[in-house]
């Protein structure tokens, strides 16, 4: 579905991604684990077109995405739920969802999708006219997911959806992830919470210091080892 190969992204002279390759299978949940600074968010931002890679390619069902504007990438079928959610705080819940459909022109279908989102996230329906900035963290996360879904993505990228949320809310978010997948959504999920991630993932990649250092299915590597490498990395720093 989504093929990333030999991707190199730099900040000035620092290589944040040193040739990352990974494959996201259609209809599956692929998780990306790794310690802070491994380059997970950089990878997500590069796929979404916010950052431009130095080298490498990103292909969605065979079509190259590198070089396209973020807006074009959204219309090709990639949506990113960014780290820290980044909902539009001064807009109502309804307007946030409308903004998610910014690239679409099919008004009646957009309205129908809104109703689907309200059905899936009843809390959002209750607060449809409330400003997004006044929602709780968990509700904002749901809104960020719903907003991304409004573009009808073929691949949904999620960057740390559990960040800063209470454990009960985290469980709820992962229920949503699993439910979305059952409905056929392909997902690439970056997660610090390795335990939760391994429970929902069909496949996972470990990233350390800008490289993919392991790929496999949950169970292929002992969870202890995954957790250790995901939080601390294998290579000792400096």
């Amino acid at each position: 579905m989504l093929d990333v190969s030999e991707l190199v992204t730099t900040y000035g002279k620092i290589e944040a991604l040193k040739g990352v390759s990974l494959h996201v299978a259609g209809g599956k949940i692929t998780c990306l684990l790794g310690p802070n600074g491994a380059g997970k968010t950089t990878l997500m931002m590069t796929i979404a077109g916010i950052l431009r890679p130095r080298r490498g390619s990103i292909k969605l069902e065979g079509a190259e995405l590198v070089g396209l504007s973020p807006a074009k990438i959204v219309s090709r079928g990639i949506a990113l739920v960014p780290e820290n959610r980044l909902v539009f705080p001064e807009m109502s819940v309804r307007e946030n969802l409308l903004a998610g459909a910014y690239q679409r022109r099919d008004k009646s279908e957009i309205a129908a999708d809104m109703e689907r989102m309200y059905a899936r996230f009843p809390q959002l329906k209750e607060r449809r006219e409330q400003l997004a900035g006044t929602l709780s963290g968990g509700e904002q996360q749901m809104l960020a997911v719903a907003r991304a879904l409004m573009s009808r993505p073929r691949v949904l990228l999620m960057d740390e959806p559990s960040l800063g949320l209470a454990p009960l809310i985290v469980a709820e978010i992962f229920d949503i992830v699993a439910a979305l997948n059952r409905d056929g959504t392909t997902m690439l999920l970056v997660e610090q919470n390795a335990h939760m991630a391994l429970k929902v993932a069909h496949q996972f990649f470990l990233m350390e210091q800008g490289r993919v250092t392991f790929q496999g299915t949950p169970g292929q590597l002992a969870e202890d080892e995954v957790i250790q490498r995901a939080y601390l990395g294998t290579r000792r720093a400096g």
């Binding site: 979404a48 077109g49 916010i50 504007s69 973020p70 807006a71 959204v74 219309s75 949506a79 990113l80 960014p82 980044l86 909902v87 539009f88 705080p89 001064e90 807009m91 307007e95 409308l98 903004a99 998610g100 910014y102 690239q103 907003r147 991304a148 573009s151």
Partner: protein
């Protein structure tokens, strides 16, 4: 008492021209969080387009208005491409300083190309002032006030009830998030700049048609009055821009009447100072906007 009411009415009328100028300023500041000092001079260039059309071709009012708007939009986009588009986020000072340079450039261009200092501008409405009891109201002032109210309403509607406005507010909130939902941020910012310049053009046309003359100094005047009105009214608020303009006009006319013309601007700047100290967000601005504006 009659004097007080008459002065207040005059102040509101004069203030509507400040409010008009502040509207365009507010659209640019709201989107970019950056100050465009050459905003007034771009309107002035548009005004010269209009006055040339009027003098050399005998164009009618509508054609002159269209020329002013077109000239303001062309020079506004020129400023955006030169001073704003190349500057990265966070380089607000660089944009402001370079827009100051373009201000000087535009002003000198106007002086060089059209060496006579003052050019006539076609009047909006001639005829005697309307008498309402003991009070006098100039008809062209009424048109200007109506224009200001209408334009503010149009801008407010466009911001809150169109796809363009939705995208623009997304950019205002967070350019990266706007990008992620599929807003072409660069294109939208340029369009917003063009729209702001068009608003400035309409404002400039109305103000000049009341003054009936245009000089290269109009650019500086428009930047100053628009800026003060915007800051009093509230950064990034459309009704605030209008209200700030009206308040500024009323203060100016009253202080002129009470203390004479020399003191007028002193009072205007004092009102600005008082607002900056006591209520830096302006009349209708939010504190969040002020926090953001620190990053400029």
């Amino acid at each position: 008492m009659i004097d007080f009411i008459q002065n207040t009415i005059d102040g509101v009328m004069i203030g509507s021209s400040y409010g008009l100028l502040a509207l365009g300023f507010t659209v640019i500041f709201g989107v970019m969080r950056r100050l465009n000092l050459s905003y007034g001079p771009t309107v002035m260039i548009g005004a010269y387009f209009g006055t040339v059309l009027y003098l050399d071709f005998g164009a009618g009012l509508l054609a002159v208005a269209a020329a002013v708007v077109a000239g303001a939009v062309i020079s506004g986009v020129y400023v955006e491409r030169l001073c704003f588009a190349p500057m990265k986020a966070g380089a607000g000072i660089a944009s402001m300083v370079s827009s100051f340079a373009i201000w000087m450039q535009l002003e000198q261009a106007a002086v060089l190309v059209l060496p006579r200092h003052t050019y006539p501008f076609p009047p909006l409405a001639t005829g005697p002032a309307l008498e309402i009891g003991p009070l006098l109201v100039r008809p062209d002032h009424l048109i200007m006030l109506g224009g200001a109210l209408l334009l503010a309403a149009v801008v407010q509607l466009a911001l809150y009830h169109t796809r363009f406005g939705l995208g623009l507010r997304a950019v205002i909130a967070n350019p990266i998030a706007a990008n992620l939902v599929g807003v072409d941020v660069g294109r939208l910012v340029m369009l917003a700049f063009a729209a702001a310049s068009a608003i400035g053009g309409v404002a400039g046309f109305l103000v000049l048609a009341v003054d009936q003359q245009v000089t290269p100094m109009f650019g500086m005047w428009a930047t100053l009055k628009g800026l003060i009105a915007m800051m009093i009214g509230g950064l990034g608020s459309i009704p605030g821009a209008l209200l700030g303009g009206l308040l500024l006009g009323v203060v100016e006319v009253h202080s002129h009447w009470l203390f004479g013309p020399q003191v007028r601007d002193l009072f205007a700047y004092f009102v600005l100072f008082a607002f900056l100290v006591a209520r830096p967000g302006g009349l209708l601005g939010r504190t969040a906007d002020v926090e953001l504006s620190h990053r400029v």
